[in-house]
């Protein structure tokens, strides 16, 4: 007896230990699983942030070398430039020397001499086109000499050697512009033409147009004069500009006015506008193109750099110059400006020696350095914007390394209105790429966020009433047998790949609705009316007919009137369109109501994405309603409440947090949904809330653009930012849903 007892006891002990081990094991597994999920989400979060972070990082700049100008004896530079690798720089001096030197230490690499006579001198050199490295020099003896700085690359086994050279694209001949020397000039150049705008010693403003003609025998290009004319200017010009297309010429006067000439006809330039471009008392110190030849930067002696471009005018002149934005450099006055070659950044030096780097479109004041001992004479920015060269009045050259990768992005640029070049007013625009090479990407997240919310809104507009009413009916009124059929079928819809929904919506539904628009509008109006009417008829129906239909299956009968109404509406569609809307409702709408129509519009999205979120909302809401304890409903019914009263007073209030959380989760899903919006919206980032207009959502945008964006570029990082915003959206909605659900659970734990 004792023995038996003790074996049972040991057996129990073993069992108990086993149970404990299993318990522990399960607990650990669950804990690890939970922690892994949280960890994974945290990692996604951290990863997104780590890609996005550099967008808002402060740029860095530091001096890497400082040396005396090479060949100091030849005097200060007339022009300072750097080649693309930022290894070799050059300067042009008064005697016509083009001196190439090593950027890192100032050691001379090679010297060239422009083909000018010994008693002649170069008065000034200007950049004609930074992209083609074309320069123009005005000579003391009169006329301009065009030349290019070019670089041959040689690869040895161990290194790359750069061989600079000077070439003369239009021959070594000086372009003749009359007897007297040129004091100021500007050159506009494109593939076919070249226009020189100048002021000569006599103070006259001249304009000469050339055509580029390639000779048959050699490959050489020569300039052939087409036309010329002279302009009158009452004030002393400070600087001249001609745009690359040679349509507009700008003259900055010492009085602080900027005159805009229409020079499409070179023979008769037409003064468009004279406008004050400086603040009252200050004087202009210079103008410079912002890359692209659309914006003009004006510096003045109060230290302000302002950006101007022309917009279409209201009055009798077609265009007017408009100040877009301005930057304060230093109160000592702007001395020199240079703009980046590939971006819209600007470096401006003040008299005090302070140098300021800012970015126009993002309005970011990036960095300020106290750069030089003397005044800055020349600024050269390497094409890749990684090196900055400054020459000061003491003949010193300083080299600065820049770490400035994403100046284009700023919070105001991403979330605020930005006034882009060639736009009439500031606006929210997303346009990340274009066919044209000097295109400026526009990264406003507002149209995408707007599109996301619009798509989700229309989807919810369609899905919410259907899903919630369906859930109420299924959970509360439907007979168990029918419920057992309906609930799983709707939930299985959730498993439908959204790509199929998107595909159907884009390729079948969108054209179908376009063809049957009046019918669709009728369906939206008449189906609800029809449902109410059928309910009234049902109520009046004699009992004999009613009793034939099993209780709880009344809803199935409703399918009949709905299908009939839909079919009637659709078949009437074409006739109505012909009779009332002149055969085409889309044209009629845009003419009479001013409502645009995209084939792939918010209505399509509402329906297609609505279908995708209905199962989610339905399933959660149905569970919430069904799990309202039965003793509550019977308690209410036992007090003489009708089923409807019970629903409204007891069931819905108790299930409302669950329904709310269902809606939130549905909304989160609609916000994050990608395939449907990608395939059925047209993806145009417009900001129009109209039901017949398209949209572009954050998710579709990431899907479309990420594969073709360059890794680590601003575009790439902004797409990650879009993904991050999306993540936060869904995180937000799901968190709200979860918090509400937890509340609900706590509330009903006591029931």
């Amino acid at each position: 007896m004792d023995k038996a007892n003790s074996t049972i006891e040991t057996q129990a002990k073993v069992n108990w230990r086993w149970r404990k081990i299993k318990d522990e094991l399960m607990m650990r597994v669950v804990q690890v699983g939970g922690a892994a999920v949280i960890g994974a989400i945290a990692l996604i979060f951290i990863f997104l942030l780590s890609v996005v972070y550099p967008l808002f990082e402060e740029p860095e700049i530091h001096e890497s070398a400082r040396y005396q100008l090479p060949s100091t004896a030849l005097g200060p530079s007339l022009m300072l430039g750097v080649e693309e690798q930022a290894e070799i720089a050059f300067r042009v001096t008064k005697d016509g020397s083009v001196l190439f030197f090593d950027v890192s230490n100032g050691q001379s690499v090679i010297n060239y001499k422009l083909p000018i006579s010994d008693d002649d001198a170069v008065l000034g050199v200007r950049n004609v086109s930074e992209a083609s490295r074309l320069l123009a020099a005005n000579l003391k003896s009169g006329g301009l000499l065009f030349f290019k700085h070019e670089y041959d690359l040689e690869f040895t086994e161990t290194e790359r050697i750069i061989h600079p050279k000077v070439v003369y694209p239009f021959g070594q001949e000086v372009v003749d512009l009359g007897e007297s020397a040129i004091m100021q000039f500007a050159v506009g150049e494109n593939e076919d033409n070249l226009t020189i705008f100048y002021q000569n010693e006599d103070g006259k403003l001249g304009l000469t147009g050339f055509e580029k003609v390639s000779s048959f025998i050699s490959e050489d290009v020569v300039l052939e004069e087409i036309d010329n004319s002279f302009l009158n200017s009452s004030h002393e010009p400070v600087a001249l500009l001609v745009d690359p297309e040679q349509e507009w010429a700008y003259v900055l006067n010492d009085r602080g006015t900027l005159a805009l000439y229409d020079i499409r006809d070179i023979a008769s330039p037409d003064l468009q506008e004279v406008i004050d471009v400086t603040n009252q008392s200050s004087k202009p110190t210079g103008i410079e193109w912002l890359i692209g030849g659309i914006s003009v930067l004006v510096g003045d002696d109060s230290g302000v750099v302002s950006q101007w471009f022309k917009i279409r005018a209201e009055g009798d002149v077609p265009y007017t110059l408009k100040k877009i934005r301005e930057f304060k450099v230093d109160s000592s006055g702007v001395n020199k400006m240079a703009s980046e070659q590939l971006r819209k950044g600007v470096v401006a030096a003040a008299e005090s020696g302070k140098v300021n780097f800012f970015y126009t479109t993002s309005e970011r004041d990036l960095m300020t350095i106290a750069a030089t001992e003397g005044e800055v004479q020349h600024i050269a920015i390497a094409p890749r914007s990684d090196i900055l060269l400054l020459e000061d009045s003491l003949g010193q050259l300083s080299v600065w390394d820049m770490d400035n990768h994403h100046p284009e992005s700023s919070l105001s640029g991403l979330w605020g209105k930005v006034w882009y070049e060639d736009y009439q007013k500031p606006d929210y625009i997303w346009q990340s790429s274009s066919a044209s090479s000097d295109f400026e990407p526009k990264y406003s997240l507002i149209p995408l966020t707007f599109g996301t919310i619009k798509a989700a809104f229309y989807a919810m507009l369609f899905a919410m009433p259907l899903a919630i009413c369906g859930a109420i009916f299924t959970a509360y009124f439907m007979r168990p047998k029918m419920r057992a059929l309906v609930k799983p079928s709707i939930e299985i819809m959730e498993a439908l790949p959204t790509v199929i929904l998107g595909f159907l919506a884009g390729l079948w539904l969108a054209p179908y609705i376009e063809q049957h628009l009046p019918g669709v509008v009728f369906v939206l109006i008449f189906v609800p009316l029809g449902i109410i009417l059928s309910a009234l008829i049902w109520w009046r129906l004699p009992f004999e007919i009613k009793s034939k239909i099993p209780e709880g299956w009344e809803a199935a009968i409703l399918a009949l009137p709905i299908i009939t109404i839909v079919m009637l509406c659709m078949s009437a569609s074409t006739a109505v369109e012909g009779a009332l809307f002149e055969g085409n409702i889309r044209i009629w709408m845009s003419e009479n109501l001013g409502v645009g129509f995209d084939q792939r519009n918010a209505l399509i999205i509402g329906i297609a994405m609505g279908f995708a979120v209905i199962p989610t909302i339905f399933s959660i809401a149905e569970d919430a309603i069904f799990s309202v304890p039965k003793h509550l409903t019977s308690g209410s019914l036992a007090l003489g409440a009708t089923p409807w009263q019970t629903l409204v007073r007891v069931v819905l209030p108790s299930a409302s947090p669950g329904i709310f959380s269902a809606v939130m989760i549905g909304f989160g899903r609609a916000v994050g949904e990608t395939m449907i919006v990608l395939m059925a919206t047209g993806n145009t980032p417009v900001m129009d809330f109209g039901i017949f207009e398209g949209m572009r959502t954050l998710s579709a945008n990431v899907a479309v653009e990420l594969p073709e964006s360059e890794v680590d570029s601003t575009h790439y990082r902004i797409l990650f930012l879009a993904a991050f915003v999306l993540f936060m959206f869904t995180f937000f909605f799901n968190t709200i849903a979860e918090i509400v659900r937890q509340r609900l659970r706590r509330k009903y734990a006591t029931l």
């Binding site: 047998k481 009992f543 009708t642 209030p653 006591t750």
Partner: protein, 272 residues
């Protein structure tokens, strides 16, 4: 017969009378019910007198709750129910089509085994049935709520915290609240399905006192497993067994001199 364990002093305050002298409230005539193919009630013939407390006793699964639920048609909610025979309230069959179920349930209130207050305030729980009837007059609602709570012996405990959530009450208080909720609509009949089964002896006592109180104004039908309780509170007792009504009569008679062997076995605890 002295075989019963119920001492006769329990019946002291119950006047011995015969069912034929009573005013009849609910009548069952050959009433049968089946859940699908499973028959739960067999040809029940029963008369429940007005303004008396009638107890249903019987072993678990014998059909007490089923019969009780038929009296205000709560069984309508269950799928696949078949009934035959008649269930009459004041002589009128309640299962005909022209009977308005909600009106019936206003006349025949029901309290369930498990307290089921709504997730609302104490006040709103009691006012619920009144609001359903469309009563909006504030003072009238307040008066009726107070009256119900006083009559359900709860006023003293909750009168000063009517806006508290009903879940903050104890189980016994909740059950009395549910009774208050039921009497607030002034039903004629109050059906109580094991109202005290989940309660401690003190709460049970309070409920029993309440029933004794209520039966002067209401016809009370109570299902109970507690013989003492049935003996204490009811004037008449029905004993059901396997879906059949075995015996029905004045409580003191049924407990002291049961007419059937099965009744005697059950009340003396030989089975059940």
């Amino acid at each position: 017969m002295a075989t019963t364990s119920i001492s006769s002093d329990l019946f002291e305050n119950q006047a011995s009378r015969s069912i034929d002298q009573e005013d009849i409230c609910i009548t069952c005539e050959d009433f049968s019910l089946s859940y699908g193919t499973k028959q739960a009630l067999f040809d029940i013939n029963l008369k429940i007198p007005t303004n008396r407390a009638t107890a249903f006793i019987g072993p678990s699964g014998c059909g007490k709750s089923t019969l009780l639920r038929c009296m205000n048609r709560m069984n309508d909610l269950i799928d696949g129910i078949n009934i035959s025979g008649q269930m009459k309230l004041h002589g009128k069959d309640i299962n005909t089509r022209d009977v308005n179920v909600t009106e019936l349930r206003q006349q025949v209130g029901m309290v369930f085994q498990k307290p089921n207050p709504f997730p609302k305030s104490i006040f709103e729980n009691v006012a619920y049935g009144l609001r359903l009837q469309g009563i909006t007059n504030k003072t009238e609602i307040e008066d009726r709520v107070e009256w119900s709570l006083v009559n359900s012996a709860l006023w003293g405990e909750v009168g000063d915290r009517l806006q508290d959530n009903a879940f903050s009450l104890s189980g016994g208080q909740q059950q009395r609240l549910v009774i208050a909720r039921a009497i607030a609509v002034r039903p004629q009949v109050l059906l109580l399905d094991e109202p005290a089964s989940a309660l401690d002896p003190i709460s049970t006592l309070k409920i029993e006192e309440l029933i004794a109180e209520l039966k002067s104004q209401y016809t009370v039908v109570i299902v109970t497993h507690n013989m003492q309780q049935a003996a204490r509170v009811s004037d008449y007792t029905a004993f059901l067994y396997l879906g059949k009504l075995i015996e029905f009569g004045p409580t003191n008679v049924l407990f002291t001199a049961p007419g059937e062997r099965q009744t005697e076995d059950y009340i003396t605890g030989r089975y059940g």
